[in-house]
């Protein structure tokens, strides 16, 4: 609460008082009252006016100062009422009570939405588990009756599976609950699973899968990492197709305090103008438009998951030459000590 602004706000009071003083002055002059009386009345006027202005200012100042100051201080502004005392002047009480009611309904609403979100997430998780049963049956059926199903079925099933997984991890990482378990993970095992999952696609498109120096342990959630890498490899395959002697290379680099996992492909790359946006939600860019079937969600989810797990993910590319995605895992010294 600024004094100058407060005065400005109460300017009308001052004007009225000044006017009434001027009128009084005129009356006093008309009756030819002594000069001393005029002056002392003037002093009384000044004192009354300033007191009438300053006392309410002082009463209100503390409350408003705390209110505005604390709002800036705490990160959840709607909880500010918890940090201030109920004021002892009428306006303040009105404001306080109103804020209290607004707050209450706001919190109730938030809780309701949180609850709904949680229910929705639970339903999604359950639904995904349910949908995996027919997916598994279909996979088994298409394998057992190869004469009735051609390779296309298998491919479409894999796509379906990928989209289902995307929803699952989207639901998991958008949720505030901790849904992962960080432990020492054998990177080689994760790469193996990724390789097997994408084997058909890689072989069919004649993309060489080169893996180097991955016999190393990192601190992560293996399932989450597998999904993240899956999204990256999916993109690599999509944008490396139809390129001569194409490859996807996975290798690590170990430094004193971190391990970097690199996924490099010699695909069509990403235009510099698109590069800063690839991790944005629903961003498809030029490549996405050209190659269709892009939801623009894969890398977005991968990035949010990396953030949750505490890894950094970066992307580098030269158009028509290469794309390099790097994930950095921190090394935990305390963990080594505990071992």
């Amino acid at each position: 609460m600024k004094f100058s602004k407060y005065i400005k706000d109460n300017l009308y009071k001052i004007i009225i008082l000044v006017l009434s003083y001027l009128i009084t002055l005129l009356i006093l002059l008309a009756f030819k009252v002594e000069k001393e009386v005029v002056v002392s009345l003037f002093i009384i006027y000044i004192i009354t006016t300033s007191t009438l202005l300053i006392i309410p200012y002082l009463r209100k100042r503390k409350f408003y100062k705390d209110l505005t100051h604390n709002i800036e201080l705490i990160d959840q502004a709607y909880l500010v009422l918890e940090t201030i005392n109920k004021p002892d002047f009428y306006e303040g009480e009105l404001l306080y009570d109103a804020l209290y009611e607004i707050n209450k309904s706001y919190i109730e609403n938030i809780n309701k939405i949180k609850e709904q979100l949680k229910d929705f997430k639970e339903y999604i998780e359950m639904w995904i588990h349910e949908v995996k049963v027919p997916l598994s049956s279909l996979t088994l059926i298409s394998n057992n009756h190869k004469n009735k199903f051609d390779k296309k079925t298998k491919k479409e099933l894999k796509r379906l599976e990928n989209y289902v997984e995307q929803v699952l991890y989207y639901a998991r990482c958008e949720n505030a609950e901790k849904d992962y378990l960080i432990k020492e993970t054998d990177l080689k095992e994760v790469i193996k699973n990724i390789g097997l999952k994408n084997m058909d696609d890689l072989l069919e498109n004649k993309i060489d899968f080169l893996v180097d120096n991955v016999d190393i342990k990192v601190l992560t959630d293996s399932k989450w990492l597998e999904f993240i890498l899956g999204q990256i490899i999916n993109n690599s395959i999509k944008y490396t197709k139809n390129i001569k002697s194409s490859y996807i290379k996975i290798y690590t680099k170990e430094e004193k305090d971190k391990i970097t996992l690199n996924i490099l492909d010699n695909g069509i790359g990403i235009k510099p103008s698109d590069l800063p946006q690839v991790f944005n939600k629903s961003f498809t860019g030029e490549n996405g438009r050209k190659y269709s079937s892009s939801t623009g969600m894969g890398l977005y989810i991968a990035k949010s998951m990396c953030e949750k797990l505490g890894h950094t993910i970066t992307i580098n590319s030269k158009y028509n030459e290469y794309t390099l995605v790097s994930i950095t895992f921190a090394k935990n010294k305390y963990y080594d000590v505990l071992k």
Binding site: V133, P134, N144, K183, K192, L203, K223
Partner: protein, 220 residues
């Protein structure tokens, strides 16, 4: 022949899974009565159990816990929940492996093979006619002759040996190789097979690996 018990409540999966396993020379039993699961398992006494986590009456994890009190039968947990906590729990309850639905059938077969191999110590040495094959050393020997196979050649040869007189598809061989972190391409597979043939020929076994066009290979 090895006996595998399927514990699973989805009818179609049960049926297709048992077809898959039977096609791969396993004897298959299916648990129908979940209420007295432990009793039934004792009665059937399988070599390996494929246990789904979400089965009625008794949760897969509790069943595993109960089972571990009385038996060491290898168990592969099957689940549709792709979750690290579940996996860690299952392993701590004594599961030998953990696989998530929907699984690639070839990979499931490899995992089953691996778990059975782990529990069967003698499988490191295989025999074919008068050849002795030491898988971990990569040596194939005959009386006083011996040849050394590369890792890839050994993976291919032992896969064919384990499926003798049965066609093994290129896809199956490829899966086995990739499962062993040998991410080779189609050409390399062809090259490896022809090298393997040449090496076997030097031991006097010419043309034991036949090509079945567009299907795969067979070791006769």
């Amino acid at each position: 022949m090895q006996k595998i018990l399927i514990i699973e409540d989805d009818e179609i999966i049960k049926e297709e899974l048992s077809t898959l396993l039977k096609n791969n020379n396993y004897v298959v039993e299916i648990l129908e009565d979940f209420k007295n699961a432990i009793e039934k398992i004792k009665e059937i006494s399988p070599n390996l159990i494929l246990l789904d986590i979400s089965i009625p009456y008794i949760n897969g994890k509790s069943l595993l816990k109960e089972l571990r009190k009385i038996s060491n039968t290898p168990v592969i947990m099957v689940t549709s929940s792709n979750n690290e906590t579940d996996e860690a729990l299952s392993i701590s309850y004594g599961a030998d492996d953990y696989i998530t639905k929907p699984y690639n059938p070839n990979i499931l077969l490899l995992r089953i093979g691996a778990v059975l191999k782990r529990t069967n110590i003698n499988s490191n040495i295989l025999f074919y006619k008068d050849l002795k094959i030491n898988i971990s050393k990569g040596i194939v020997s005959k009386e006083n002759e011996e040849i050394i196979l590369t890792k890839n050649e050994m993976i291919i040869f032992s896969n064919l040996l384990n499926h003798q007189n049965k066609i093994v598809t290129r896809d199956e061989l490829m899966t086995d190789l990739w499962n062993n972190l040998e991410f080779i391409n189609d050409n390399a597979l062809t090259v490896n097979i022809s090298r393997l043939r040449t090496k076997l020929k030097s031991l006097g076994y010419d043309n034991i690996i036949e090509t079945r066009k567009k299907v795969g290979y067979i070791l006769s």
